[in-house]
Structures are given as structure tokens and as C-alpha cells.
Amino acid sequence: MLPVRQPDSAESSYQDNLALVRRRIAGYVQRRLVPHRAGFDDAEDIAQACIVVLMEQYPAKRELAELTAIAIGIARHKIARFLHDRDRMPALADAEVPETAPGIFEQAVARQAMDRLLGAMLKLPPRCRDLIRLRLLEQRDYAEIRMLLGISGNIYEMTRRCHSALLRLLGGIQ
């Protein structure tokens, strides 16, 4: 008689991790994509599609931190695809190129993401906007930023707070 295979604890933990990641992705879609008419079913579909990719393409990744990090990248792509299909992304519609052109979808996604980032940056106070611009877009180090802005305080702390404010604004722009 063949022995009955008991699910080992590692497998159980993997399944728990996947379930947790799935719940987070579905939660994100439901919270963030309401203006795009994304409902419960859309959220479940996107989350499930991400989990399928995780299981099929990344079977060796089983720890929660690894799965979350990869899932975020996959979810970003799946959500962009969903928005494209649902709303017809203007950048793609204007481009009038075959959707299969290499990299064109990613370019359009990057452009939209940068537009969102700019939209959030323009809502920041001028000093914060300058800090974020210098640190993230011009990729300057803190010593340079301190000199450029003539700031004597804790430049790192200020950047951290501005970055936090930027993230809050990004959450409100879709």
C-alpha cells in the first residue's frame, strides 16, 4: 500500500504565504482601482493571475519576503495591463503602434508612472519638491543637496519626510 502523503510544514507555510500575498494584491486592487471600475471579481482575477505566475515561474521562491517582493513586480504589470484593457491607456492609443512592438507597453507604463509621480510632486511644498527632484530624479547625494538648497538641518530626515508625503500623494493619484 502506498503511504498517504501528509502535507509537510514547509508546503503548508508556502501555501499560507501565497494566500497572504494573494489577499494583499486583491486588497490593493479593490482599494486603489475603484475609479477604474474595478470590482471584487477584477481584484480576485488579478490576484489569482499573479499567484499563477508566482507558482509557475518562481517555484523556488517560497519565503514570504521573496514572494511579496516578486508579487509586487508582477502585480504592477498585471494592473497596468488591466488598466490598458479597461481604459485604453492614452499613451498607447496615441502611439498607434502594434501592441506587440518590443518594449512599447513597458515604455507606456513607465511614462504613465512618471506622470503620476510628477502629479504627486507638483502637489508637494516647493522645498519638498526640490528635495525629491534632486534626490530621485537628479540622483544627487545628500552633501550636494545640502549645498544646492543651502539647508543646514538634517537633510536626510527632511528627504525621508518628503518622500513619505510623496507616497501618500501617490496613493491618491491613479
Binding site: L67, T68, L118, E138
Partner: protein, 388 residues
């Protein structure tokens, strides 16, 4: 898993955006994100922006948009391209040894001239109070100071005036809104109370010296105690700026460290005063050398407080700190004061008065301009201080 505090999460998110996150931090961040929907949402929001930032073409486009925005808005934002050009120009220009040497020579000449002028001013002022012919012999009786009573009176009158002016509508401190910063508002009140106490103690000290100088009696054992009393409110003011000094309903033990520090400092002050008095009276085998501890105690109180003024939140010009630290340093010569030639004692006395005026001007400026209020508000907001 314990979720890291928000400040750490924010720091990790910034490091993640800039690509400077370490592997352990990244692991902590993603584990926390899996447990926390808000953090997961923020990470996913950030992910798109992060990918866009990695694209040099998109960065260039974003900078052009921001430049256009800044141009049309005509706000007071930084002219980054021009500033960047200035930075590049500055970076390209190598530091010149001649310029470094020139700066050194100029500062030497300036120091010599300025100090000579200061000495002239002090001796002119001090000489008007010197009653006897110059002598370099130390005073035979330490109790009989060559400092004329009028100088004590001037000192006391100035202390009284500067104390009184704090209770008038002039030079009123910048207020803190108790609705937004209740702790900072109470800290400011504590600081002001300590500050006024210091001036009241100086008034008492110099009034006492004046009264006894007029009568010719020896004021010193009591004057030493009063001198110690001037240090205590300065320590108080320092601890108000340094420790959580206001209890809150949710944390009544918040002031524990402050109360402990105040208690210990008060005890040390009392001990120092006892030693000073014992030294004056030649008790317990002591002599006037006991006063050295008093000089150190008073000097430390001033140095600790001025160390807080060094904070960039206070925005005290660096040069202005020099006379303040100078005031702390001259406390150390207290033990030698009575061994100095009479006119030197007078000059030192005048210098102490000038330093005290500097101190008043700096603290009044901090209070009135709101620099101290901003410091306290920042402390309440958690922007400064030890990591929580």
C-alpha cells in the same frame, strides 16, 4: 514578527526608492508589507514610480516638465539648473592654498586688532572704577574685594532691569499654539521660568555683594551660595530642552528622567556650595581651593545650556556662540579671582557683565524670534532628539 516603527519603515521605503536598501532591510520591509495592507499598497504605488525613475529618458522628461512648471509658476522655488551649474563650477575649482593662507593671515590680523580694541574698551571702562593705584600684589584678605560697590550696583541694576523687562509687553516670547503643540507650549513656559529665575538669582547675588561692599563686611560665604543658585536655573533650562519635562495623561512617568536629573543637579549644587563655604571658613582642612568646584559647576551649567543653543534648529549664528562659551570659560577662574591684581578683578568683572548682556540678547532673540519655539515644536513632533 514585530513591525518596525513608522520612521524605520519610511527610511526603508526611501532607501528602496533610491536603490540603497540593504538585503536585511529589504527582507524586513517586504515581510512587514505582507502583514500590513497599507504598507503593501504604498510599496505597490512606489513600485511603478521606482521603475519610471530607473528610466533615464523618463527622468530627463520629468526634469523638463518640472523646469517648465517652475518657469510658469514663478514661485520662489530653487533655480536648480543655475544652482547645479554653480555647484559644478565650484567643484571644478580646486581649493587654493594661497586662499587658505590668506584667510588665516586675515583672521590673525583681525583677531589681534579686535582683541586690542576690546582690551582698550574694557580697561577704559574698568579704569573708571579703579580707586587705588595699580598693584600686582594679591589682596591680603580675600573677603575685601577691590571691586567698587558701584560696580556691584550697576551689575545688580542691569540684572533688575533685564528681569523686569521680561514682565513688560516688550520683547515678549513667541507663543506656541497649545492646541497643536501642548507639550512644547509647556516646555517653553518651563524654560522661561528657569530663565527668569536665573536673572532673579543674579540680581540677588549682585545686590548682596553691593550691600556688603558698602558696609565693608565680608559677603562671601553667602555670595558663594547665591552664585551656586545662579547655576541651578541654567541647568533647569538645559534639562527642559534636553529631557521630556512635561507629563502627559497617557504617560505620567514621562518626566522621570527630567526629575531625576534635576534632583541630582540640585544635590550636586548644594554639595558644591557646602564645600565652597567650608573652604571660605577653612573648615574640614579645606581652603579657598574649594571654590574651584563652584567655578566648574557654574561653568558647566552655562556650557550645557549653550551646547543646546548650538542646535541648527535654534539658528544662532555660530560667531554669537563664542561669547557665550567664553562666559562659561571665565567661570573657571572664579577660584583665582581673589588672587588677581585689583584692576584685573575689575576688568574680569566688566567682561562677565558684557558676556551676561550677550547671553540676554541671544536668549531674548531666541524667544522673541520663535527659534526656541520652533526647536520645541520640532522636538514634540519627533524631528529631533534620540531615536524613539
Amino acid at each position: 514578527m514585530n513591525r518596525p516603527p513608522d520612521s524605520e519603515i519610511d527610511a526603508m521605503l526611501l532607501a528602496y526608492t533610491t536603490g540603497e536598501i540593504t538585503q536585511p532591510e529589504e527582507r524586513t520591509l517586504f515581510e512587514a508589507a505582507a502583514q500590513d495592507q497599507d504598507l503593501f499598497d504604498r510599496l505597490l504605488d512606489l513600485e511603478s514610480a521606482r521603475q519610471a525613475i530607473r528610466n533615464p529618458e523618463e527622468r530627463r522628461r520629468a526634469l523638463a516638465v518640472l523646469d517648465a512648471w517652475g518657469h510658469t509658476e514663478r514661485t520662489e522655488t530653487l533655480d536648480v539648473p543655475r544652482a547645479a551649474a554653480a555647484l559644478r563650477q565650484r567643484a571644478q575649482r580646486p581649493p587654493s592654498l594661497a586662499a587658505d593662507l590668506g584667510r588665516s593671515v586675515v583672521s590673525t590680523i583681525t583677531t589681534t586688532v579686535v582683541l586690542r580694541l576690546c582690551y582698550a574698551a574694557i580697561t577704559v571702562i574698568g579704569a573708571t572704577f579703579v580707586t587705588s593705584a595699580p598693584s600686582y600684589e594679591p589682596a591680603a584678605n580675600p573677603g575685601s574685594s577691590p571691586v567698587p560697590p558701584i560696580l556691584h550696583l550697576v551689575h545688580a541694576a542691569i540684572a533688575a532691569l533685564l528681569l523686569a523687562v521680561q514682565f513688560t509687553p516688550f520683547l515678549q516670547p513667541h507663543r506656541i499654539d497649545a492646541r497643536t503643540h501642548p507639550i512644547a507650549q509647556r516646555c517653553l513656559a518651563q524654560f522661561i521660568a528657569g530663565w527668569r529665575f536665573a536673572w532673579a538669582a543674579w540680581l540677588a547675588l549682585y545686590a548682596w555683594l553691593w550691600i556688603f561692599a558698602v558696609s565693608g563686611a565680608n559677603p562671601y560665604p553667602v555670595a558663594d551660595i547665591l552664585n551656586c543658585l545662579t547655576a541651578f536655573p541654567l541647568f533647569w533650562a538645559f534639562f527642559v530642552l534636553d529631557q521630556p519635562s512635561v507629563a502627559i495623561p497617557t504617560n505620567p512617568r514621562r518626566t522621570a528622567a527630567f526629575r531625576k536629573a534635576i534632583g541630582v543637579v540640585w544635590g550636586i549644587g548644594a554639595g558644591v556650595a557646602v564645600l565652597a563655604v567650608a573652604g571660605r571658613e577653612h573648615l574640614w582642612g579645606l581652603n579657598e581651593f574649594g571654590l574651584v568646584f563652584q567655578g566648574i559647576y557654574v561653568g558647566l551649567s552655562i556650557a550645557f545650556l549653550f551646547g543646546r543653543f548650538d542646535s541648527h534648529w535654534m539658528k544662532v549664528p555660530r560667531w554669537m556662540l563664542a561669547p557665550l562659551y567664553g562666559y562659561a570659560l571665565i567661570q573657571m577662574i572664579y577660584v583665582f579671582f581673589f588672587r588677581l591684581p585689583p584692576e584685573w578683578q575689575i576688568y574680569t568683572y566688566v567682561v562677565a557683565l558684557l558676556f551676561k548682556l550677550c547671553l540676554f540678547l541671544v536668549v531674548t532673540h531666541l524667544l522673541q524670534a520663535g527659534n526656541l519655539a520652533r526647536y520645541l515644536e520640532a522636538a514634540e513632533d519627533g524631528k529631533i532628539g534620540p531615536p524613539q
